[in-house]
């Protein structure tokens, strides 16, 4: 049975209703995971010659860490994981559109070429 927004459930009944269905532990673990990723990010600055991200691997490693943090926050903290799929589609529409538009713009300005720009 589905509860709708038109069901006039008294707040005294709802009080404590989801106590046994808490996701707080998931949230704390997610925050710890994000903290570890941030520490790794900062470590790339402190130790740029570390073998895992030495030389040309540094930027891809940072981009991957950034993407993992981004999607972890969006999925867990912003509830996309638990919410209706249409919200995921809506958000990705904006995100993909933004990425495509700005890749096109950066390409127009020859950002991929070495050296100073414009």
């Amino acid at each position: 049975m589905t509860v709708t927004s038109h069901d006039n459930v008294p707040t005294t009944v709802l009080d404590g209703a989801v106590k046994d269905y808490s996701r707080d532990k998931v949230y704390v673990m997610t925050a710890l995971f994000l903290a570890v990723l941030t520490i790794i990010e900062v470590f790339t600055y402190a130790a740029p010659d570390f073998p895992v991200w030495a030389d040309e691997l540094l930027v891809p490693v940072l981009m991957i860490l950034m993407a993992v943090k981004f999607f972890t926050i969006v999925y867990v903290f912003m509830h996309l994981k638990f919410d209706k799929p249409i919200l995921t589609k809506l958000f990705y529409m904006g995100l993909v559109l933004a990425v495509l538009v700005y890749i096109a713009m950066l390409s127009t300005f020859r950002i991929w070429h070495n050296g100073q720009h414009g």
Binding site: Y21, H79, F82, L106
Partner: protein, 211 residues
């Protein structure tokens, strides 16, 4: 009467039975218009910040004035980033608390979120002050203009978020956020998490990726 009330489905029951976590709104999508509006707004914000980040990438090599490598204080900014990241945790715990009907705890978590946000803004003001003292004004170079515009816009978003959080606490104290309106807290939370997500990108692209 008491029996009919307790026989009603609780939030927990609805939560457990459905693939999604939230109460169905009486709309075509089952999502409240307010929440849908916030997600549309956030999708459009991707375009705003995408534009600002792209502009920064185009202009990050200054032709005059200090370079990013010369002025950025990575340990300091890392601490600020960590503070903002943890504010997302306190925010989501506030949403969780109001869903359980724990008003006092919700106010504590929202207060903590606002305090962490204010700490981040204080750090940004300090950082800007140091940069200006070192000769990096808004009009010093194309890099400085792009940098201040991007991070400044983000700072304004955080400040607006803090105002919304303080308003939530005041509304809660006046008893205007009962559990069946917990979505109000969730919607403010969505905005706050988005601001955090944007900083995740800015921190990596602007501060950590070398020129």
């Amino acid at each position: 009467m008491a029996e009919s009330l307790t026989s009603r489905p609780t939030l927990a029951a609805a939560d457990a039975q459905q693939a999604h976590a939230h109460i169905d709104a009486d709309t075509n999508t089952g999502i409240s218009n307010t929440k849908l509006g916030m997600w549309l707004f956030l999708a459009s914000e991707c375009l705003l910040f995408g534009g600002l980040i792209t502009t920064y990438l185009l202009y990050k090599h200054p032709l005059e004035g200090p370079t990013p490598h010369e002025i950025f204080d990575i340990p300091f900014t890392s601490t600020s980033s960590f503070v903002l990241l943890m504010s997302s945790l306190t925010m989501v715990l506030a949403v969780s608390a109001i869903e359980r009907g724990e008003h006092q705890r919700m106010r504590v978590w929202i207060g903590a979120t606002a305090a962490l946000g204010a700490t981040f803004i204080a750090g940004q003001i300090y950082e800007f002050t140091v940069f200006v003292r070192e000769g990096l004004g808004f009009t010093t170079s194309r890099f400085s203009s792009a940098f201040y515009t991007l991070t400044g816009f983000h700072g304004i978003h955080v400040t607006i978020g803090i105002i919304m959080l303080v308003s939530l606490v005041l509304l809660s104290l006046r008893g205007k956020i009962p559990e069946h309106r917990a979505e109000t807290v969730e919607i403010v939370g969505l905005y706050w998490h988005f601001v955090d997500v944007v900083w995740v990108v800015i921190f990596a692209v602007v501060y950590l990726i070398p020129s």
